[in-house]
Symmetry: D2
Subunit: 245 residues, 4 copies
């Protein structure tokens, strides 16, 4: 009954190959750190894709066979081709789930779906982040404690220029004095979008068991639900119209 969820983990995969501090933490890439965890979960089929592949690894047939796409990008947002962004965008409206991680807030696809600048404040000081659950009724909070800590992370601070989230799951506290809406759900077309804040490339955040759990929960939450596919355009009346003009 439980359907298999087909996940594609996308990563720009640049800094892991050019910066020692990043390579040390994610020797096989951030996508592999995420994928290796997801592959251990029952009911998921997981593949990865990276910027340097043809069509960034996101050819039509890959997307057609993807239920949930996870997106991490940072230094090369503008290298992502508009055609691929358009393709992902259309798939989200058709029902594909999208999970945008950390610096992916500035990706073309996230800004396209939000309709805002997605700007924010930031600071790389490796400070403490404490992620608080503010929606204990939410499936993305399953199995989590009331809060969890990430010892060292980049700070993101408000104002985060997004539309008011349809559901707000997490709020982060930062040692340096800021707060941030860290887990945000959005509905677009038939698709479901989740933004999750943590995940700077120099910190081992994607090995954190709570962070991993959030990503797993989000994959299940974002999977297509099988609602009706809308028909658009000119339609005939369903009831008689009197005195039309």
């Amino acid at each position: 009954m439980q359907r298999t969820i087909r996940v594609t983990v996308w990563n720009e995969f640049i800094q892991e190959r050019t910066e020692e501090a990043v390579a040390k933490v994610y020797p096989r890439g951030i996508h592999e750190a995420i994928a290796e965890y997801l592959r251990q979960q029952p009911g998921l089929v997981v593949r990865t894709a990276t910027l340097d592949q043809p069509e960034h690894g996101l050819a039509e047939d890959v997307l057609r066979e993807t239920d949930v796409l996870i997106w991490w990008g940072h230094v090369a947002h503008d290298k992502v081709s508009d055609a691929v962004v358009e393709r992902v965008y259309r798939r989200v409206l058709e029902g594909m789930g999208l999970i945008v991680l950390h610096s992916g807030h500035y990706s073309k696809i996230f800004r396209r779906l939000m309709g805002t600048s997605c700007s924010l404040k930031w600071r790389e000081a490796g400070e403490r982040e404490r992620v608080w659950v503010v929606a204990p009724w939410h499936p993305i909070a399953e199995g989590l404690p009331e809060y969890f800590e990430i010892e060292h992370e980049e700070m993101y601070g408000e104002y985060f220029d997004i539309p008011p989230p349809d559901e707000l799951v997490f709020i982060s506290w930062f040692e340096g004095g800021e707060v941030f809406r860290s887990g945000c759900c959005f509905y677009r077309g038939r698709g479901r979008v989740f933004y999750f804040r943590p995940g700077h490339e120099t910190h081992p955040t994607f090995y954190n068991p709570h962070v991993r759990r959030v990503i797993l929960n989000a994959v299940k939450w974002a999977a297509p639900v099988g609602g009706p596919a809308p028909r658009y355009g000119n339609v005939k009346p369903l009831e008689p119209i009197r005195g039309a003009r």
Copy 2:
């Protein structure tokens, strides 16, 4: 992996025993019409409870073993004891799902959870209702067409005095000229509440396959998600406080 969901279908079960027009449609009660369908679904364990039973069939242990409670009431809202309402209320805040059907909009438990009068317009003319999906991304819309029709139903019209729903899934069109927010999701504590409009006692609405599908989808949606159980009250600081006063 898929957990069994324990459903209790509650019905005041009065009109089916006192009004011929109702008895003809629901000879064994509205609760049985709903329960017989749910019992055919894999992964559900279903029981029923009625007003005339001791504690209205909702003793502490019954509620403790209920994941989702379905509620139908109409002529005897004031006969439901405040103690039982309080008990159901606490269970919802703890995480039990609640599905309120049709005239249950005026039940004590729904009004308690909404914080509003839950008043509306109504008309018993057996007119046509057309239920439109306005959230194709929602799990409660799974397997439904873009709209479905109920040939004869009581009309409920706006303004429906509820808080703005956290999610609006359906809007109904009525032959007599009204509209209604027919499928409304609310989050309360760790619990999930769904209000669904159709279901007048003189119409065979609960045999309608689309209506049944909505109820099944809502049961799955409302089942507890396993998020953190909040601790309330006085707490120690998690970080050092300088210069406290």
Copy 3:
């Protein structure tokens, strides 16, 4: 104390000059029908702009001096230059209000701000529309009755592919059997966006006193509120950070 609100009414102004049926209803253009009403209201300063003007009448200084922009377009959405769309978009994020009318749902600027296709169903049968208030607490409902009727209008039907509105003010009933979320509020950056459904070019909808009142209310609602202008980018900590890494 009440600040003057500077309104610019934008219209593509094509069909009024090329189609007799439209010219008859709006001889001086839809923009003038709206502007003539708004000019009678205290506290508003009103100008108009049209597609055929240089920069579509929306030069930098015009937008800088506009508090609320009203937008009507239909047959020439793709004739609006991307540079002007970008300019309007940036002004909305800075705080300018935007009111999008009827077929403007398909304008570049609305789709850009929504992040969705903004598609819908439609039918030109001149049928009856009844607009119901579902948010009597909303300033855009000020002075309105519980519902109002428009004798002849084009039909727009669900699914309307927009993000769930931040506030839903109106739902329309149509004679032919459809419903539509007809008054929708969205927040983007510091700006406020209102979509209002009625307003087909062959019907005298913009002379309807209720429709006019909605537009006036929306102008007041959408005017900039003077909240803080966010600073983005790299920031210093506000509190000491221990053990940074």
Copy 4:
């Protein structure tokens, strides 16, 4: 054009008369500290009411002449008569604005309107609070900086058991490591409710110019808007019904 807003500031007014630490900060009561500021604002007419007055100072005619009621209570929530709570509740549904301050989260009226327990975490350590604006588009943020600090305050921490706010305006950061949804808007009936977190009785919070500005903004936001008064109950059809049954 700008209508006068009639404000009633309600305070239980007990600790100011029984505890020296409170009396020192608010010698004439918290209500007077708030009222003296509001009285200086153009367009407001301000009165106060306290628990010890007949009907707690909230007789029928007082409420009928109140546009916005401000509520501060702490140690005597259960001393407020149910009849007065019911009266306030009905007035809110009719359109009266309600601003609930700090420990008022546990008042009967707030819990009644929310439908939840309104529980939270707390700590009296006089720590630093930093209030961040997360809705720069909101009228309650008018004239505020991006954040403001309160040097010494009681801490309130998540999970705050309220329904998801219809609008979230502020999030607080606390020195001790918690976060809190500090400015929350709710719509109930025709009324508007704002909860604002700061305001412990031993701290001079209600003299803080930013806090005062928030309260002033909230008064303007919560004032009745003049939307339609809903009619409830049995109604006649607006359109012909064929084949009724």
